[in-house]
């Protein structure tokens, strides 16, 4: 038994790592995140289920029927925690009561108010966030890695403390087991009551957290979000900061935000058009987003999804100096750039059709004179 379990988790760890590494693997990108029943319940409570949510739903059934099934068979983070625990003899947090169920309830309490406490607490999300650090600059990288480092590291101070006492995913499974036992055996009532009490306190804590968090959201209109992202305020509170969209983006334009003035938006995805643009036929970010912060969209939907709007600084355009150029018009997939021939000083000039422009960034990226920038679309 133990032998098999070890191998199953090792296999899960390898698989999860492959999917979590910063390769654009289409819908497989970050696939393992969908196995977390917590992520599933979170999507359920924020009404953002997608077809990949089926994975989480099935696993939820397993963990209800078999105690700590996820921990034993699938959890890559659990395997890491166990390995670290083996290195240590310390049990500093021995006397601490188990907080897992409390934290799980907190997650749901917050989720009802659309606040993703999950991002901070789910071991699977933390596992994925760790790998998103590979693509970004140092500080956001360290921040996104911090979650997993904390979860794994705390076991060195006190052996097995994460899995036994802190993990909300573990807590959720414990809660489900008590619930099942309560229904089948009368004498388990007392424990179940205890669990219920902790859950209620946790949920209240979640509400409180949500209220505080929402107040700290600075809806900055200047940030460009991935296509089909929820409206700004809602987006920040729904995104669980797992980094899946950034991983999946084939042109690497989605990056983790790190703005000290915008703590609430920390590690949320934002678009930067320095090296690439948003491909007209790409639907990757919508497919891999497990929280519903970026809605699933089709290639057809994509045509009308607005990221922002292009602005051309005509004075810097090469055409104003009578140089050969038509790059912005040539590359516009939306027919939104028009170069006007002009008889004034014979200089032609490009213009953006604001009705057609979706802010995909192709013109801004290609412009050899850096005369074009994309601004966030005004929030409706």
């Amino acid at each position: 038994m133990t032998f098999k379990v070890r191998h199953s988790r090792l296999f899960a760890l390898v698989l999860a790592t492959i999917f979590a590494l910063p390769f654009s693997l289409g819908w497989l990108t970050g696939l393992f995140i969908w196995t977390s029943p917590l992520v599933f319940l979170n999507s359920l409570s924020s009404q953002s289920l997608s077809w990949l949510s089926i994975i989480g739903a099935i696993i939820l059934i397993f963990v209800t029927l078999r105690h700590r099934w996820y921990c034993r068979w699938l959890c890559p983070t659990g395997l890491l925690c166990d390995s670290v625990s083996k290195l240590s003899r310390l049990r500093v947090l021995k006397g601490m009561p188990p907080l897992g169920i409390f934290l799980a309830a907190l997650v749901f309490g917050a989720a009802i108010f659309d606040v993703p406490a999950l991002g901070l607490l789910d071991p699977i999300v933390a596992f994925h966030a760790f790998f998103s650090g590979f693509k970004v600059s140092l500080v956001p990288a360290l921040l996104s890695m911090a979650g997993l480092i904390f979860i794994v590291g705390i076991n060195f101070i006190s052996r097995h403390v994460w899995c036994n006492k802190l993990c909300p995913l573990g807590g959720l499974q414990d809660g489900l087991t008590s619930l099942r036992k309560m229904m089948t055996k009368k004498d388990e009532r007392a424990t179940a009551f205890d669990v219920g009490r902790r859950a209620a306190i946790g949920a209240l804590g979640g509400f409180g957290f949500a209220v505080l968090f929402k107040r700290s959201i600075a809806t900055s209109a200047s940030i460009i979000r991935p296509p089909a992202a929820l409206p700004e305020g809602q987006f920040q509170s729904t995104c669980i900061r797992c980094g899946n969209c950034a991983r999946a983006c084939p042109t690497h334009i989605i990056q983790s935000s790190f703005d000290a003035n915008d703590i609430a938006g920390l590690l949320t995805p934002k678009i930067s058009f320095t090296h690439g643009y948003c491909l007209p036929a790409c639907t990757a970010c919508g497919t891999v987003c497990p929280s519903g912060a970026i809605k699933t969209f089709s290639k057809n939907d994509k045509k009308s999804l607005v990221l922002g709007i292009a602005h051309i600084d005509v004075e810097n355009c090469l055409l104003s100096r009578h140089k050969e150029c038509d790059r912005c018009q040539f590359y516009c997939d939306y027919d939104a750039v028009m170069i006007h021939p002009s008889d004034f000083e014979l200089a032609a000039w490009p213009e953006i059709n604001r009705q057609r422009c979706v802010g995909c960034g192709a013109c801004a990226v290609v412009c050899p004179a850096n005369a074009i920038r994309i601004e966030a679309a005004p929030q409706i």
Binding site: G276, Y331, I339, P341, L346, A348, V365, P368
Partner: protein
């Protein structure tokens, strides 16, 4: 040399370059003839045309591609006739006043920036430099009259029969072979019956007349002009302000002034060409007057408007291989490589920005110069077979010089071997190109 013989043309239809609508299935042919706006037609009677020459190689069009082709074939020992409708060589490079030779340099796989244009084209640039008539080491800007002079000298040295003021208007094709090319000239309609034909018309007139498939790419058409006395602009004049006066040329007092022009124009429509020509010339004159009315610019004057309208693109051959942007970005190697060219502008590739200094040098395969049906036709210059994403790199003068050089060499080898353009021994072509200092990587 040039001979005289009667050539009997039996089919009325084949002679009817001016007859729109009477040819069976070829709308492209109609487009080549009169503009599509005219619906009424007239039938031209068959007539006998004198054959004035039966050369090994006939090059039609004396632009960068055609001239390079003629020189290469002539130096390889072929008997060559070069036909040009206007009064000068160099095409848009000189007559179109498009003076910068792009793109002489590009980066290789390890990012090393190096010269890519060699062979006949490089020789032209070097001769112009020796005359002090080219500025800049990379992408030289030349003086157009010096360009015309150097090309005339090189054509003369290579013993090529030069026919100016001749407009190739039709071809006679039998069993996939071009038997004769018909020219309109001051001596009336005349025929040339060559073994091999190189299309150097820029617009691909020959490939269309031969019945090959093509796309007609509509692009912006401009008219370049030059301003004189730009060295006499008085910046300290009261009321002086900065006004664009174009870009420098090898002659200090002269600037060239590019024009983007109108988008999406059909370079094969005679009405479009005429309307734009007229409109642009008036605009240029009026703009120059505005410049002259600006304090400090009184002595600036309009030196000339280009004698060739700036048709950037028109036909693109549907050939045996379509060169792609991906080929260029991935340094694709071809067994039948006949030249290497570079890039000059920023591109998007797989959603990424690729700036000029990261744009690689790329190989051109012989097959992209080959039409699918005609056995003795090789296409060169801005109409060879490539995808539109690559157009900014394929239409530039450097690439035209490279494809022209290769087309001429291949035509000469095909004549020596008595083979078709497709079946020519590519190794021999490559060896000839190398012996003529071409760069095959």
């Amino acid at each position: 040399m040039i001979k005289r013989r009667k050539f009997l043309v039996t089919l009325a239809a084949t002679t009817g370059a001016l007859v729109a609508g009477c040819q069976s299935n070829s709308t492209k042919r109609q487009q080549h003839a009169a503009g599509t706006r005219d619906e009424r037609t007239i039938l031209e009677p068959a007539r006998e045309i004198p054959i004035i020459a039966e050369p090994d190689v006939l090059v039609v069009g004396g632009g960068p591609a055609g001239v390079a082709a003629a020189i290469s074939a002539g130096r390889a020992g072929a008997d060559v006739v070069l036909v040009e409708r206007y009064n000068h060589l160099g095409g848009l490079w000189t007559g179109g006043l498009v003076l910068p030779l792009l793109s002489t340099h590009a980066v290789d796989k390890s990012g090393y920036h190096q010269q890519v244009i060699y062979g006949v084209g490089d020789e032209m640039a070097r001769r112009l430099r020796t005359l002090d008539m080219a500025i800049h080491e990379v992408n030289p800007v030349i003086d157009p009259e010096a360009g015309k002079y150097v090309l005339d000298v090189m054509i003369k040295e290579s013993n090529i029969n030069m026919l100016y003021h001749c407009w190739a208007s039709n071809v006679i094709v039998e069993n996939g072979w071009i038997k004769a090319v018909l020219l309109e000239s001051k001596s009336g309609r005349v025929a040339i019956a060559p073994k091999m034909v190189v299309d150097g018309t820029g617009d691909g007139d020959m490939l269309a007349l031969a019945g090959e498939d093509f796309q007609n790419m509509k692009y912006h058409i401009g008219l370049v002009h030059r301003l004189g006395n730009v060295d006499r602009i008085n910046k300290s004049a009261p009321g002086y302000k900065d006004v664009p006066v174009g870009n420098p040329t090898p002659i200090a007092s002269v600037n060239w002034f590019n024009m983007h022009g109108e988008n999406d124009q059909d370079g094969l429509d005679l009405h479009t060409l005429s309307e734009l020509q007229q409109k642009y010339r008036i605009q240029i004159w009026e703009n120059t007057q505005k410049i002259r009315a600006t304090p400090g610019y009184e002595e600036v004057f309009l030196l000339d408007t280009a004698s060739q309208l700036g048709v950037r693109m028109s036909r693109i051959l549907d050939g045996q291989y379509r060169l792609t942007l991906k080929d260029s970005m991935t340094f694709k190697k071809f067994d039948d490589v006949i030249g290497i060219s570079g890039a000059w502008c920023t591109m998007l590739y797989e959603g990424r920005r690729v700036p000029v200094n990261e744009r690689p040098l790329w190989q051109i395969p012989y097959r992209s110069l080959l039409p699918k049906k005609t056995k003795n036709l090789i296409v060169s210059g801005r109409c060879f077979c490539f995808e539109r994403e690559l157009v900014e790199d394929t239409r530039i003068i450097g690439t035209c010089l490279v494809t022209g050089h290769a087309a001429g060499a291949a035509a000469a080898v095909a004549v020596q071997e008595g083979s078709t353009a497709t079946n020519v021994n590519i190794k021999r072509v490559q060896n000839l190109l190398k012996s003529q200092n071409a760069n095959l990587g």
